[in-house]
Symmetry: C2
Subunit: 347 residues, 2 copies
Amino acid sequence: MGRRPTIIDVAKLAGVSKSTAARALSDSPDVNEVTRDKVRKAAIASGYERNHLAVGMRSGRSGLFGLVIPDITNPFWAEVARGAQDIVGENGASLLVFSSDWDHDREASHLRALRQARVEGAIVNPVSDNAEDFGRFGVPFSLIGSSAERFPDTPSIGSDIRQAVRLGLDHLVARGHPAPALILGPKSRLARARFLRSVHEHCLERDIDPAVLQVEDGDYTFEGGHSAMQRLMARQPSGHLTVFCANDLMALGAMLAVREAGRECPRDVSILGFDGVPAGAFSWPGLTTIEKPARELGRRAAQALFDEIAGRPQDGRTYLPCRLIERGSLADLSVQTPLRVAGAGRS
Amino acid sequence: MGRRPTIIDVAKLAGVSKSTAARALSDSPDVNEVTRDKVRKAAIASGYERNHLAVGMRSGRSGLFGLVIPDITNPFWAEVARGAQDIVGENGASLLVFSSDWDHDREASHLRALRQARVEGAIVNPVSDNAEDFGRFGVPFSLIGSSAERFPDTPSIGSDIRQAVRLGLDHLVARGHPAPALILGPKSRLARARFLRSVHEHCLERDIDPAVLQVEDGDYTFEGGHSAMQRLMARQPSGHLTVFCANDLMALGAMLAVREAGRECPRDVSILGFDGVPAGAFSWPGLTTIEKPARELGRRAAQALFDEIAGRPQDGRTYLPCRLIERGSLADLSVQTPLRVAGAGRS
DNA sequence: GCCACTTCCGGTAACGTTCCCAATAGATGC
DNA sequence: GCATCTATTGGGAACGTTACCGGAAGTGGC
């Protein structure tokens, strides 16, 4: 009894040929309802389960999709994975998940595994800046994240950084912080340039000279944000300090630096993050931040894949809007300042 | 050129039979080195990549493994997934990842998908308390987490709750908190009973009457910890309060409640968590907690699977030790108290 | 010079499924 | 009653791989 039942066993049990059994179980219209019932009962009785390996071989459709992200342990990418998982599951397929650790070789090896598994499509956040790798990938794929911009002619999904930065700057200005300091990522990263460019554009729109903005480089880590904030405070030891961080982890690190320096957020220092990681909700004060639609990113990327495979028209690059989450890390200077200037205010 | 090259193409290009080509590429000793080289070159030249679907069908080994966890978005389970991913990858296989959302039907459907994909083995955190489901699973599997105890005769991995609780209680006693209040999970959960039982055992060992301990029920959420803490503070409005929470999320919720009540942690309230989630490092104060070895859990579960498949002897149930992480949420009453009592102290 | 043995290779079958084609039977039209 | 049509079924081939079996050389011993 070690063997799993095959469709031949089912056919035998139902007293029909394997062709008929296959037809019955795949809802083909060319089979008598009575026969279909008989086959279905036989399938259940024998504990038959379709062998997807064989199906994939015969039909060319493996029912498998691939996801290659930097690290499943990173909450942002976990959300992306979940979104992709959901859509892939809804379409009756399964998802192979890989973590590349931002490593070229690992990425390449995972892509090879994906091809060998004959996945029908793959969602990738590319570490590689070598477009050729993907040109010869040989499997439908959609790219996710900012580095996808390097591959202009493939469908890709990302968050709308320009809109996100506008959202952040609007909020900062409305709260009376017209010229925030910036804690950015390392110069080597494409995302840094994009973020900075967006800030500049929006500053110009508001007649703010971008050169006025203080800039510190971090490395997208907690520690990086922490030391960047220390440098910022050293440069401006008094007065209210406002910081717009390029990600939440650095913002959280900055918050710690503020507290260690004996200053208080948001009384002395205002902090705005960018990402929407869960930890931002548990800090004190809660981190005001701009949330990237991580799960939706994963859903869209998967959907794009199915659309592409089905031959439905593709959008090319899609940018998803971000959302501002107000928690408590931003002081409202717009109320305080008029009071001081005018010396009076209602209630 | 749409077709992917097969081993027959390679054989043709190399001027040998497909049997020889297959042998050459699978490192069989029964092939001349010169021929092997010829085949290898032909394989590279044609861009051949082994079709795992066909291999799986012929050999019965799909190179696929499955993982079913409650939610990949949960940092604990993401770590588990990562551990499993790493071990599976090291063995040249790939991992199918599913999220069950603690839902029976979803779990069942994912297990079916796993069987149909002909995975060689699966790692599951079972939602179901129905052992029969797994008895007839028909695929080697290893269980992970506390509910695995319901399946005594299958290999399973979990964290050592008794050891963890001992660690926590030792630390609490050493810091001068002999009788902490407890914020637990809901009564319906097996994990709650286990945690509570361990606490009782360790209390008895120290001649502490377990009945003295205040107990509040949470539901493992941030909000649940928040309201449980409010109830606790209402019951004991003054004096130092110490709380041992059954998970970090509730501990973080409790911390917020403390702050909202105008009390301060750790000055007025000491909090000990349990899990080791990353967010605990970003709170203020940092959460002192007991870390479960999540990634190692995943690694071990995967390793157990490979051992089982290879026919290596199995341990049955394995409990992995936890680790105390000291951050700042616990006051040191052992110093303070003697000072008050004795009225003097050095420096 | 014959036999046994090793080394290497080719042919064929099989894994489980689906697709295509042909065949059967009954129904319909004339 | 015969041709035609439809509904339903069965038989084979094919997907790409590996395992098994047998054969062809070459080697060495006597």
